[in-house]
């Protein structure tokens, strides 16, 4: 059944108890994302160290189980990744959500891939895809110092 795919145990767990929730003192990059249609909000904070590595990442937000789980899993995977790896992972994830059946990136383990694939259930729910992608677009915005807020209804 599709609902079981969407609300897998892992999603429900991360949705209810998001990891890396909160803010930390010495972040040097951050961005906000907002889906005005449903009210989901996320604020990503990260510290990019001198080697362009994410030494810490956290998020604040409120929203549905899908968006919270997505932010939670994303922050777990991004910790200690270097900038090119971050980019690769984001691209890989967004491609998978859009049309690719699987993740191709070699920089995460099979277990981590399985974890990330737990978000693939949204593909059958077009109205919910934006819930899963909002934190990722917000991370892009933080990494690239894009001014303003990510708005799901404004970018394509």
């Amino acid at each position: 059944m599709d609902l079981k795919d969407l609300y897998q145990q892992l999603i429900l767990d991360h949705g209810k108890n998001p990891r890396n929730l909160g803010k930390f003192e010495n972040f040097n990059k951050d961005a906000k994302g907002h889906n005005p249609l449903c009210g989901d909000k996320v604020h990503v904070y990260l510290k990019l160290d001198e080697n362009k590595k994410i030494s810490d990442i956290k998020f604040e937000g409120e929203g549905c189980a899908i968006s919270m789980a997505s932010a939670s899993i994303m922050t777990e995977l991004m910790k200690n990744k270097e900038e090119p790896e971050v980019k690769e992972l984001i691209d890989d994830f967004l491609k998978m959500i859009k049309d690719s059946p699987e993740l191709n990136s070699k920089i995460i383990s099979e277990d981590e891939k399985t974890k990330l694939m737990s978000l693939s259930g949204v593909k059958k729910y077009p109205m919910r895809v934006k819930c899963a992608t909002l934190p990722w677009h917000t991370l892009v915005s933080a990494m690239t110092d894009k001014p303003g807020e990510v708005n799901t209804e404004k970018d394509d």
């Binding site: 609902l3 429900l12 009210g39 989901d40 929203g63 189980a65 729910y125 109205m127 919910r128 819930c131």
Partner: protein, 405 residues
């Protein structure tokens, strides 16, 4: 009223949603359409089509008569004094924009105040907002109370000598509060303030009488009244339609057009520029006939009973928190669930064929006041039954089960 028979008049219920019967609880957003309305659109295009008001041939005359016939049906439905007080628009949104724009242009100046409420739909706030910039007016908000209600005192408190117009909803699309509009209008008129009522949720559910209510403007959304999309009605007292400037310019709304100047047409043409939503207007006549055949009082009674039943079963469900317990509640059951976000609720309910809405329902001011980013909303129409509400409740229990497993 036999609801089973009424439901049969709506072809949409012949379809399955995810292999389940459709339980449609999103009528505050838009109602479903009875077959008579759908057929009327088909018949008009296949047998009677012509543009209205411009040609003298047989079809044009017949189409014009049908179009004007709906105007009279609307007039009678809301008991307006004169059919020329009925203006067709593209929706309630355009009806409110028409008033904000023309009234603002003619009567408002810097420092003037517009009074609305915290319950308003974006459609009854954003059109007024433009006047902040263009005219330097101020918008005040009457406070909603902890029951999601607006009483006459909260309006009175916010009226000042600078208040130039009052714009209020008849029935809140989130809390279901039915405002004491008649008393509010009397109060405003005693201070010479005209009143616009956003009747989007009033017109489909409550018996209306414009002459008794005495409001200056009343906005209606036809697609929430078992009618076609792309159509709304503005009721306005004749003196306003005569005094206010035209809204849009174009064909049909003119008197004489010369190089050195233009005069405008008589009512109601003055406000209906260009080719109108002809088929929709004609089909909307069938929506009114449909409502009249059942009787709006009967519909009101049926929906009141259902609302009460829905409140009862949802209150018994310990995980559900109902949003809004106004004194007078109509057809809307908004709620939240402990630990389940409204969007997750809506997705899980949809799997059972239960259609509700989740989000801020175009009322961000109210949601901010409630301290909620989103709510789930079940809203009722004439075709709903207690079984629908029982199904809602059992699907809600399924959400709880999924999220607590």
């Amino acid at each position: 009223m036999n609801i089973k028979d009424i439901k049969k008049e709506f072809p949409i219920f012949d379809n399955k949603v995810h292999n389940n019967d459709l339980v449609y609880l999103d009528s505050a957003n838009s109602s479903q359409k009875p077959k008579v309305v759908v057929d009327r659109i088909y018949d008009f295009y296949t047998k009677e089509f012509s543009n209205v008001g411009r040609s003298v041939h047989y079809l044009a005359v017949a189409a014009t008569n049908l179009y004007e016939n709906t105007r009279v049906l609307v007039q009678k439905y809301i008991n307006a004094k004169d059919p020329n007080e009925i203006v067709f628009t593209k929706g309630a949104t355009e009806a409110i924009n028409l008033v904000a724009n023309t009234f603002g242009q003619k009567y408002l100046k810097e420092g003037d105040e517009i009074l609305i409420t915290e319950l308003e739909h974006h459609s009854n706030y954003v059109p007024w907002h433009y006047l902040r910039k263009s005219k330097g007016v101020k918008i005040n908000f009457a406070d909603v109370d902890e029951n999601g209600d607006i009483n006459i005192e909260s309006i009175e408190k916010k009226i000042t000598p600078k208040t130039k117009i009052l714009a209020i909803t008849h029935l809140s699309n989130v809390t279901g509060a039915i405002l004491p509009v008649k008393e509010i209008i009397q109060l405003a008129h005693s201070k010479n303030i005209p009143v616009l009522v956003d009747g989007c949720q009033g017109a489909p559910h409550l018996k209306l009488d414009m002459q008794d209510l005495d409001c200056d403007f009343y906005a209606i959304s036809c697609h929430k009244m078992y009618g076609p999309t792309g159509l709304g009605v503005l009721y306005a007292k004749k003196k306003w339609l005569e005094e206010l400037p035209p809204y849009q310019g174009g064909g049909g709304m003119i008197g004489e057009v010369k190089k050195e100047g233009i005069t405008f047409g008589d009512l109601p043409n003055k406000y209906e520029a260009g080719t109108m939503a002809t088929a929709q207007v004609i089909a909307f006549g069938e929506s009114i006939n449909f409502i009249n055949k059942l009787g709006i009082e009967k519909i009101e009674e049926h929906e009141r009973e259902l609302t009460k039943y829905g409140e009862e079963i949802l209150r018994k469900n310990n995980s559900v928190k109902l949003i809004g317990s106004p004194k007078n509640k109509g057809s809307v059951l908004s709620f939240t669930l402990d630990g389940v976000h409204p969007h997750d609720i809506a997705t899980i309910l949809d799997e059972d064929g239960v259609a509700i809405r989740a989000g801020h329902h175009c009322c961000q001011i109210l949601h901010e006041k409630l301290g909620l980013a989103a709510t789930a909303r079940a809203s009722l129409g004439v075709y709903n039954t207690k079984d629908d509400l029982d199904q809602l409740n059992s699907s809600i229990n399924k959400c709880i089960k999924i999220f607590n497993s």
